[in-house]
Subunit: 220 residues, 2 copies
């Protein structure tokens, strides 16, 4: 009755083992460490056996990356649990979670958001899963609550995403320890993100600050 189940079960197990081996190799040694032979060796199978489950290395990596995005989403979800809905704090927490994921899963992150050089095309679109939608909903809530100004939500999401993504990629390509020399002092990613928050929410316009502090606005 279940022999076919057993069979496919066994195959599924092998596939799962391949994915897990791929994930681990990727996480610890980057894309070059994930070789078909290395994956096969971990699973206890020949490299060619992998081709029974994945068309090629690219397809395998694509699947592994999908798993990575799920882990990424978990970071984002966890970030908002204690932050009030509609608050700018919640947006900040999402940014911090993004940074934390990137630096706690460095090699993984490199591949997830790698410029597509060695990666398939599909997965590099903005992840449409719960991570992105959570981000988007937080922006919509913040607008409704008046925490941030009214604008096209998608545009703002992309704006914030761009910002934190740029910080992370810049720092990751900067130094392995994620620090950047900055006028004598060393700044790490969370510090920088916090400092940038002021710019992000208040902007660079001189009047904005002057008005906020002195109230000397010229009503036009």
């Amino acid at each position: 009755m279940t022999p076919k189940l057993v069979d496919s079960r066994r195959a599924t197990d092998t596939e799962t083992a391949i994915l897990e081996a791929g994930r681990d190799l990727l996480a610890q040694g980057g894309i070059n460490a994930l070789s078909m032979r290395a994956v096969g060796a971990r699973v206890g199978v020949s490299a060619t056996a992998i081709y029974n489950y994945f068309e090629n290395k690219e397809a395998l990596v694509r699947r592994v990356v999908t798993l990575g995005f799920e882990r990424f989403d978990a970071y984002l979800r966890e970030a908002v649990v204690d932050r009030p809905e509609g608050s700018a704090e919640r947006l900040r927490a999402l940014g911090e979670a993004y940074v934390r994921f990137a630096f706690e899963n460095r090699e993984y992150f490199r591949v997830l958001f790698a410029m597509h050089a060695d990666l398939p095309r599909e997965i590099e679109e903005l992840p449409e899963g719960s991570g992105y939608s959570l981000f988007r909903q937080s922006v919509v809530d913040a607008m409704e609550a008046g925490s941030i100004r009214q604008a096209d939500p998608d545009l703002v999401v992309l704006y914030l995403w761009t910002h934190v993504h740029g910080l992370v990629t810049l720092l990751l390509s900067c130094k392995p320890d994620a620090r950047c020399g900055h006028s004598g002092e060393e700044l790490n990613a969370p510090d920088l993100l916090a400092r940038f928050s002021d710019f992000v929410f208040s902007g660079l316009q001189p009047q904005a600050v002057a008005r906020a502090e002195t109230g000397s606005a010229a009503a036009s």
Copy 2:
């Protein structure tokens, strides 16, 4: 008298040819297209001969990347020629030049600012050459001219850099044609950069806009 000159001249020429071949291969096919054998074939020399000039592939790529940053600097320098010193417009033009360089030299850019996966460490620090200093000076000028608010210049440079870098890397990893689906319409990098400029300079704070428009500031 000059035989040694001729000799070293010949060597220099070979080295130059290697660098140019590396640059071209990198520009058109990315890091994987730049193989020692391919470079050697282009130069008309065996792959191993390259090792007389460069310690290994990494060293070669590092030198090629240095050339790339010079090209990059040229983009930035050209961007400011017509823009008045101290203007926010100048900062915007630098951002646009950054984006233009990235998309006109796509593969090159990928490697220049690649997350260091396959790259040597040194070169990935923020480029200290004329490009960065030009950027920094433009920020300082803009502060003195009152175009943007007063703050730590290095922090603002990094902030702006982060922003435009994030946009480019996100879009480059998004789709090969640098477009991103966005609530129905398709946006390209220059468009997005222009739209984000408002956020960058005015911020997301609702009061900033409200005050600027209504002048209903509460002096505290």
